[in-house]
Amino acid sequence: MIPETRTFKENASKALKDENLQSALKGMEGGFVFGRLATIEKLPEYDDIRDGAVQIKKHVLENLDVYLETFEANVIKNGGEVHWCQSPEQARQKVLELCRSIDAKTVTKGKSMIGEEMDLNHFLEEHSVEPIETDLGEYIIQLADERPSHIIAPAIHKTKAQVSDLFHEHHKKYGKTERLEDPRELLEEAREILRPKYVTADVGITGANFMIAETGSTVIVTNEGNGDLTQTLAKMHIVLATPEKIAPTLEDASTLLRILARSATGQEYSVYTTFSSGPKRSEDLDGPSSYHVIILDNGRSEMVGSEFEDMLRCIKCGACLMHCPVWSTIGGHAYGWVYPGPMGSVLTPNIVGLEDSCHLPNASTFCGRCQEVCPERIPLPRMLRKHRENAYNAKLGAPIERTGIAVWAFFARHPMLYRFATGLAMKALKLMAGSKGKLRSVPLASGWTGARDLPAPEGQTFMAQYRARKQRRAGGGS
């Protein structure tokens, strides 16, 4: 997939003017944010579990190569196969090769962000294999030919009316001519259309939330049950994973799972958590005949031991997106690649390169909510700052930004000058504002004043007030 990360600023402006998107994003925060809080409140041990979860992932990363080898050995023991791929291109070819080995015509797919990284659907279509997304949200965006705007709620940017239109347009070929509007009826129609696809599909592809080293199991978490029908009814089960998804034991996975659903959707537990260990056993009545795990690196191994290693602890819950004022305002597509929001702004430059994505680390107010809600306590703001620093040092970004930063840095290093200049600027702004007390536009700040007025500063500068207060205190006042 060609990243559209370079045009982040234009994408964001477009997103702000997109009425459908703005209406879909409205009020969405509430359910997720309060739901998360409510379930965490009912679990007094939440922070201890979080600490355990951080330790598990740190331990995994410290010994990652040994864990991956252990996992691989156990998958083989279970009768499965592991395929290693460095790039999305290698992984796409591997999937196609596996599909062709059983002459596959159709593939059902559970939700997989790694599949998005590989841009797998377009590739399979080009090679005459029909991919069918079965997660309802993924199905909707497949019909719309879009990418997910959220890592766990991929179609959250779509309004009900847009879904109605999409189903109306694409379900005609199944004899569904009525344009449905009721969400319940829309869901029923999708269920009815997707059901037979599970049975006829040759290959079922799912992602993996975890890879359990001790048992060679892969784990998926869903609420719909689509991932299970996908992997149980097809002849071949292909799992798409990345190296950092290891959890050493079943108990470690349970610790991680306790925080995953609560952080993701505010549920006590997701409806279906499934551990898959190899193909159907000879005595089993159902299950796939073969089982393959594709481990796609795509830049992760370079992050091990680097200043971005903490990012590899991410369990993809999406809490940082839901709590981000930037994501909540512009949605996910503006970020231009697979992973949006704070976690995406840290991860994407590591995968597609900072040169192509140097705007992403700027898509943050540094309010810190992402780190606060991250179940793995990932220091997202610190890493965003690191990206900004790297971008500055590599002379990326617009010259005007660099000049601005350089000018500010000069003043910041000369406190006397800084205070003098801010005092002067304050007076100037006050003068310009006149009796109205606010400014409609300010030179060099049209980005800010384009959408709102700037209130004129009142009183004294912070430093002047601080000094005055200190003097009062010294004088015995309160």
Partner: protein
């Protein structure tokens, strides 16, 4: 793709320090040597560390949170009647596909002569599936299902209605207790792995809020999950 494998693993090892390989091997061996709960790494919520009727009550409470329905019967012989009544109440045909599992034979199904049961995996045409559980986890009202020749996975997902028969003795407090029980399963000859092809943790009926952020039951899996709790630990 051996080349890719060696390059990925080699790069990771290089980043971690080639001299630390032996230490890593030891660390992994130590971590995996004692299977089970490591108290400082895997804190267990107090919520699930209870027993007796309190445990059953927590299971009931969390099942309700997960939008499953519950029926309590005093004796195993009352199960067929309860199942028939539930089917009638929901205007469902007295027909179901049921696990071939032997533990279902302890239930006197013949008492309900109207009820037709097929013992097999599920097909898309099956409206009702009846299964036992491997374990039931009170902490979140979760059913732990282990696949086998006698307990096919399709029964948990294909029928619109899933009825699970839970004996009180199946109920444990936490996932970890379920895993401890799983670890005692007879490993298949030679391979030493206790895990079945599938372990499904099921917490309520299937659902989705992908359209209009409105939550509806029955996205792809069962629309209804009904639990019959059998009192098999009566103290009197």
């Amino acid at each position: 793709m051996t080349g890719a494998r060696d390059q990925i693993l080699g790069r990771i090892r290089g980043k971690l320090g080639n001299d630390k390989r032996a230490k890593s091997e030891q660390a992994v061996t130590d971590w995996l040597a004692k299977p089970g709960v490591k108290p400082e790494i895997n804190p267990i919520p107090a919520r699930g560390q209870i027993s007796g009727e309190a445990l059953v009550d927590l299971f009931r409470e969390m099942l309700s949170v997960a939008a499953a329905t519950i029926d309590d019967v005093d004796d195993i012989k009352d199960v067929p009647g309860a199942v028939s009544a539930w089917l009638a109440e929901h205007n469902l045909p007295a027909e179901a596909v049921m696990s071939p599992d032997l533990c279902m034979d302890e239930i006197p199904w013949d008492d309900q002569s109207m009820l037709t049961l097929r013992r097999d995996r599920a097909q898309t045409s099956d409206a009702v599936g009846i299964t036992p559980v491997f374990s039931a986890i009170a902490e979140t009202g979760t059913l732990m299902m282990a696949s086998s020749a006698d307990t096919p996975t399709t029964l948990n997902f294909l029928p619109d209605n899933h009825i699970a028969i839970v004996r009180k003795s199946d109920i444990v407090g936490t996932y970890e207790e379920g895993w401890a029980k799983m670890r005692l399963r007879d490993p298949r000859a030679g391979d030493g792995n206790f895990m079945p092809r599938n372990v499904n943790l099921v917490t309520g009926p299937s659902r989705s809020a992908d359209i209009d952020k409105t939550l509806f039951m029955g996205a792809h899996g069962p629309r209804r999950l009904h639990i019959v709790i059998v009192d098999d630990v009566k103290e009197d």
